[in-house]
């Protein structure tokens, strides 16, 4: 648009030009709120890593070509698709329902695996943790879930290391208030 938004014919009233004192105060609040919001995002991220419980999950093999398309990897976890037999609700799950996945470390390794999917947050014992997700898809024998952890913004250090499809081990921190974030990603063996 070439036309100036404030043409001389459409001047701002003189009163609005210099904002009155209370407007200036409002502006100050508004800018402060924006700064605080950005800081809040940072603090939430930092606190989730510092105070949360750390677990590791395995992904399905990740395609290094994903990196060609941008700055992030698309991750598919082993717990992204789960058998319907793990569902512990009284009614059948539907798309966009919330789902709380109860995780337990496998006996052999350190990686966590799902032991149940609940419509409400279940109680945990010992080593168990709960990860919140939402149901994306339901079919006869299973569910596809989304956790909000499916994107990893790849730091420069890891960039372009991968040449082949590999499984990744993703370290995730789950805060006591349920928020989760990725804290670290390691590559496992290559997959043919």
């Amino acid at each position: 648009m070439t036309e100036p938004l404030l043409s001389p014919l459409n001047p701002v009233p003189a009163a609005a030009l210099a904002l009155p004192a209370h407007h200036r105060r409002w502006l100050l609040w508004l800018v402060a709120a924006q700064v605080l919001f950005v800081l809040g995002v940072a603090v939430a991220g930092y606190a989730t890593a510092a105070l949360g419980r750390s677990i590791t999950l395995q992904t399905e093999p990740v395609d290094p070509r994903d990196l060609l398309y941008g700055d992030h990897l698309r991750l598919r976890y082993q717990i992204s698709e789960l058998p319907g037999s793990l569902w512990r609700g009284s009614t059948l799950p539907r798309r966009k329902d919330a789902a709380y996945v109860l995780l337990e470390p496998q006996a052999a390794g350190v990686d966590y695996a799902a032991v149940g999917i609940y419509p409400e947050a279940p109680a945990t014992t010992g080593q168990q943790v709960v990860l919140r997700g939402s149901v994306q898809d339901v079919w006869r024998r299973g569910l596809r879930l989304r956790y909000g952890l499916e994107r990893y913004y790849v730091p420069e250090t890891m960039n372009r290391q991968m040449r082949q499809r590999r499984r990744l081990r993703v370290q995730i921190s789950i805060a006591p208030w349920g928020q989760a974030r990725i804290t670290q990603v390691d590559t496992l063996g290559a997959v043919r």
């Binding site: 904002l19 950005v38 995002v41």
Partner: protein, 415 residues
Amino acid sequence: MSRKLLEMDGPEWVRRGVITEDQRAQLLALYPSEANAIGLLPLLGSLLVLLSALSVVAANWQSLPELLRLGLLLATLVAAYAGGEYFRRRGNTSLGMGLVALGLVVFGVSIVLTSQLYQLIGYDLTGLLAWAVAGMGLTWLYRSRLLFLLTVIISGIVQGYNTGQLGAFSYLTAAGTALGLGLYWWRRPDALLGGVLAGGLLWQAALLINHLHVKITWFFIPAMLVYALGDWQADRPAGRALQGPPLAAAFLFTLGLALFGESDFYAGQLRAPLVPYLAALVAVLALSVVGKQRRGRLSSATDWLLLLPGFYFTGGLPLAVATLVVLYAYSGSVLLRAHQEQNPDRVTLGTVLFVLTTAVAYFKLTWGFFDKSLFFLLGGLLLLSLSWWLQRRAARTLAAANAASASAASAAPKP
């Protein structure tokens, strides 16, 4: 009138005795020049410095320490707002508002980059909603058209990201756009902002229809609600501008259906259940008509002809005929009203719509029957004669209008 014209031609007017020197000075005082003491060269220079700083930061962004990155974002944010306020107070409004707008953009960028920094993507929509809310707050605070425009765009982006990437529709964002910006427009009616607001709301409505996987035609319920809001607006041009996008959407939809409707492969996604759809539409129609009646514009109710649900006819020919009837009813009514009101812009619009409809009708209804060359020959002749006839009518109407205004002017008492 611009100050430039006044400065250039003013002395000539004084010389010819159109105005006195005193009046020229008074006129000049009505159009104060912007006190932009800032020269172009320093501005360009600082822009270059800024660009170089930006490229250095962007190139090394990944390797900067986290806290420094956060600090840079916040410092840019605060500096943009502070600079905007500084220049506004010095009377340099355009530059000031530009910087405030930049601050708003930096806020959105900060949210995104900070979330990426800490690998927070999450399923909650609050992060970007805050961006739209900040835009609305600034719009109300500064009463700025630029910020209004930017906020409509931001809300559209936020909603697009929500539905596209997060797989959720943010009803808060939609309601915020409709209420926060709608109320602003209602209080300070403006034609440009009306069109932009309607466009933004229709975009979000389309995203909602797509997200809910409901039949496409449900789209016209929210679209016509936007239209009805325009009927209640006291400011006529602003109201008309708000009604432009819904009408354009309805016209294009019907035109598309007339052209490509016979394939019917999307029939499963097209038709909303008849009774609930009609009930909702009639409710919106009633709302709109009451508004028209209150504001004394009942004649514009012919706009609703475009919403005749001709698309309930199925199959090739019946659907094409039904949609063409709808299109003809609408474009004919636009032409008729334009001639009654002797409004030259409307006459042009009506002519274009009518010719367009005729072209589509001819294409749809005769393609199969004619030899191709005969098809094009007759079609061309039809369009030529139609446009000739419409133009003649338009010329006659406008001549009558001019004559009427001329006689009115001559009949007016001389001062």
